[in-house]
């Protein structure tokens, strides 16, 4: 930020100074030269006039006398003009007089007079001038020329070469002063920009630092408020924000702590009477053979519904613990294949009682992932229970596979299936696909909700797909390490029956092996 501001200031400043400098220099030069040329023209016109009158008034006739007169005149004029001008007297091109005068002045100067000027001088009555450069790499000069009639010697041309070296020197001096001033100005502007920007940037940097500290969880970090300018306003506003943030977070933490306390208290308060009821119910249930049929049946109902009540209580407590963010996970490396196999083994007997065959297909392992294995076991158990309940005595296929970053299990049944709207709601709490259905598994209506929460706690995903009458497919994907789920999916969500043998060999379950 600082560097950028200074760079742009420097560029803009230099450009402005350069343009301004060029303009000022041009104006000054034009002004200087114009004034000088005016003076030169007046001076040279007067000198030419004087010379002409001198010749007209002179009685000189012979070439010698004329030559003498010319020499005297040129010497006088030279003395008059000083060192800044040279005088040149040359014979005009159309002069046919037989009196020849020796041209005076340095012949070298003749080369800087353009033919254009010479022809103008030869034809014209008045004087003409041009810009020129002094010979041998000299400075700029102005050449003024006029025509003279030197009695019997005929027409001659007189040229004055004025050096502009003085003007050039003045201009150079002005340019040096200007350049020095511009440099000082640019340095000053850059320095001021730097100071001002630093003053603006410093509080912003401080704010950034404090914001980073806040983000790191140091909630009591604040900015220093100094003076009462915009920066102080920024600091005050920033601090207000931090205070508000801190209050919110503290409130959330308090709420979460309260919620956890509440869950823990409810758990304890409910379990104490439930312990008595549970034992009493079991004692009655054990002794039901001695009761009248209606009492015996009542004892039975009491025992089974108590089981359901307990399961419901456990699930409720679990889900409120997850909601309160109080779930504690114990991450260790486990093979998802082992976890799934254990659950399938446990539920195989129950499934076969319902006429459901569990078929487990496993890709060549291992399928190691960092997980809380009781929770993942519970997810799989919930998926299996759900599948067995809805399989309508058909088979249930289970597949396990993994990629470098993801382990996955798919549980697929071919039973009642799910409509599109049911797919949307299947993870909702206490939602049931068909409220009228017999609850053979004694599910609590929270199993799939908890399963999804458990998957999220693992940074994994639990998805479902299904069509009415064609069964449902649930897929659980967990990241194997801390880098999250990979892009490549080990198993497709929508698997058909013929896909499963392609995953890997079918696992022989212990229950089947005994047969």
């Amino acid at each position: 930020m600082l560097l950028r501001v200074i760079t742009s200031t420097l560029v803009v400043g230099l450009a402005a100074v350069a343009v301004l400098g060029a303009y000022v220099t041009t104006q000054i030069r034009d002004g200087l030269v114009e004034k000088r040329v005016e003076r030169i023209l007046v001076e040279s016109a007067r000198d030419v006039d004087t010379t002409q009158q001198t010749f007209e008034a002179s009685p000189a006739e012979t070439p010698g006398e004329l030559q003498q007169l010319v020499n005297d005149q040129v010497a006088a004029l030279s003395k008059l003009g000083g060192e800044s001008r040279d005088i040149l007297l040359v014979r005009a091109p159309g002069n046919d007089s037989d009196v020849f005068l020796t041209p005076s002045g340095e012949g070298a100067l003749l080369s800087i007079i353009t033919p254009d000027l010479r022809s103008k001088v030869a034809t014209g009555e008045s004087q003409y001038w041009q810009h020129a450069a002094e010979p041998d790499g000299g400075g700029p000069a102005v050449v003024v020329g006029a025509s003279l009639t030197l009695r019997s010697a005929g027409n001659y041309e007189m040229y004055f070469v004025y050096s502009l070296a003085d003007e050039e020197a003045t201009l150079e001096l002005i340019q040096r002063v200007l350049a020095f001033g511009a440099t000082v100005l640019v340095v000053l502007v850059v320095f001021m920009t730097w100071t001002v920007t630093l003053q603006a940037v410093r509080p912003i940097r401080a704010a950034a630092r404090v914001a980073a500290r806040l983000a790191d969880g140091h909630l009591s970090e604040r900015m220093r408020v100094k003076g009462n300018d915009e920066m102080a306003t920024l600091a005050t506003t920033f601090n207000d924000m931090a205070t508000s943030l801190q209050r919110q977070i503290t409130r959330m933490e308090d709420l979460s702590r309260l919620q956890r306390r509440f869950v823990s208290d409810v758990s304890h308060e409910l379990r104490t009477p439930l312990t008595t009821v549970r034992m009493a119910s079991d004692v009655l249930h054990e002794a039901r053979a001695d009761f009248a049929p209606s009492v015996a049946r009542s004892a039975e109902l009491l025992a089974t519904q108590l089981d359901r009540f307990e399961a419901l209580l456990a699930d409720l407590l679990e889900i409120s613990r997850i909601d309160a963010g109080a779930a504690q996970l114990d991450f260790k490396d486990h093979d998802l294949g082992d976890v799934v196999r254990d659950q399938v083994e446990t539920l195989a007997l129950l499934a076969s009682e319902q006429g459901v065959e569990l078929r487990l297909w496993m890709e060549e392992g291992p399928h190691i992932a960092s997980m809380d294995s009781p929770r993942v076991g519970r997810i799989v158990r919930n998926l299996l229970s759900n599948a067995i309940e809805h399989a309508q005595e058909g088979p249930v296929d289970i597949a396990v596979a993994s990629t470098a970053r993801t382990v996955a299990v798919v549980v697929r049944d071919y039973g009642v299936g799910l409509s599109a709207s049911q797919v949307q709601r299947v993870f909702d709490r206490f939602w049931r696909g068909d409220p009228a259905r017999a609850r053979t598994m004694g599910g609590t209506g929270l199993g799939l909700s908890i399963a999804r929460e458990d998957a999220l706690l693992h940074d994994g995903v639990l998805e479902v797909s299904g069509r009415p009458g064609e069964g449902a497919s649930f897929r659980l994907m967990l990241p194997s390490g801390s880098r999250g789920l990979g892009l490549r999916e080990p198993l497709p969500l929508d698997m058909v029956e013929s896909d499963f043998p392609e995953v890997g060999p079918r696992v022989v379950l212990a229950a089947e092996a005994e047969l």
Binding site: S264, S267, R271
Partner: protein, 227 residues
């Protein structure tokens, strides 16, 4: 001889119902409903097993557990309404042998109590040596260079189970079945905590155990020289 069971629980209904269940199975229950009286009643009654609720008025179950453990190896089974990790581990570390989360089934309670009483039923007599320890299985005594090392019956069972098959690795699940009498998968923290307590008593340097060795990812085995 009927085994005497001390039931420490402040909820009268739970205590009474537990009593009914215990009596039905031929045990002799005695009761205590206040934390401050528990240790006194324990000394007076000398029960064979203690069922101890953790949340009590007066002295907490954890403190009672520590005090009783300081003077006796009597089996203590915690009754916990919370199955929160911290509570369970704290209870086990303070000396409880086992725990039952509330609510429990009578059958489960009886099974846990019997498992704690059963311990020397199937022990073949003899003397086992491991490292510099001499284990008198019949006399239930462990000595190091003639000095008695005090172990609770449960710790003794763990040590004997491991020492009888030196070098053989026991998984936590196998130990839970052999020592605690669990048929199904149970809380492996039971094993971890008690191995730590055992090491604290028998190892010269519990940080670098020489007798009860950990086999990473599998379980435990007995090391050292045996005869």
């Amino acid at each position: 001889m009927t085994a005497k069971i001390l039931v420490v629980d402040d909820d009268p209904a739970v205590a009474e119902m537990t009593g009914i269940v215990l009596r039905a199975d031929g045990f002799d229950p005695v009761f205590c409903d206040h934390g401050d009286r528990a240790v006194g009643i324990f000394r007076a009654e000398q029960p064979d097993v203690i069922l101890l609720d953790l949340m009590l008025p007066g002295k907490s179950g954890i403190d009672i557990c520590r005090e009783i453990r300081a003077e006796s190896g009597v089996p203590i089974i915690m009754l916990t309404a919370k199955s929160d990790t911290v509570d369970v581990v704290l209870g086990l570390e303070s000396g409880a042998d086992d725990y039952i989360p509330k609510p429990f089934k009578p059958r489960e309670l009886i099974a846990r109590v019997r498992a704690r009483l059963r311990r020397n039923d199937n022990v073949s007599p003899g003397v086992v040596r491991i490292g510099d320890l001499e284990i008198d299985v019949t006399g239930h005594r462990v000595t190091r260079a003639g000095e008695v090392v005090q172990l609770t019956p449960l710790e003794f069972d763990v040590l004997v189970t491991l020492a009888r098959a030196p070098g053989q690795v026991f998984t936590r699940e196998v130990l839970l079945e052999d020592v605690w009498g669990y048929r199904h998968a149970a809380d492996t923290r039971l094993v971890n905590v008690h191995i730590q307590r055992l090491r604290a008593k028998i190892e010269r340097d519990p940080e670098n155990p020489e007798i009860v060795l950990t086999v990473r990812g599998v379980g435990y085995k007995a090391g050292g020289h045996t005869s």
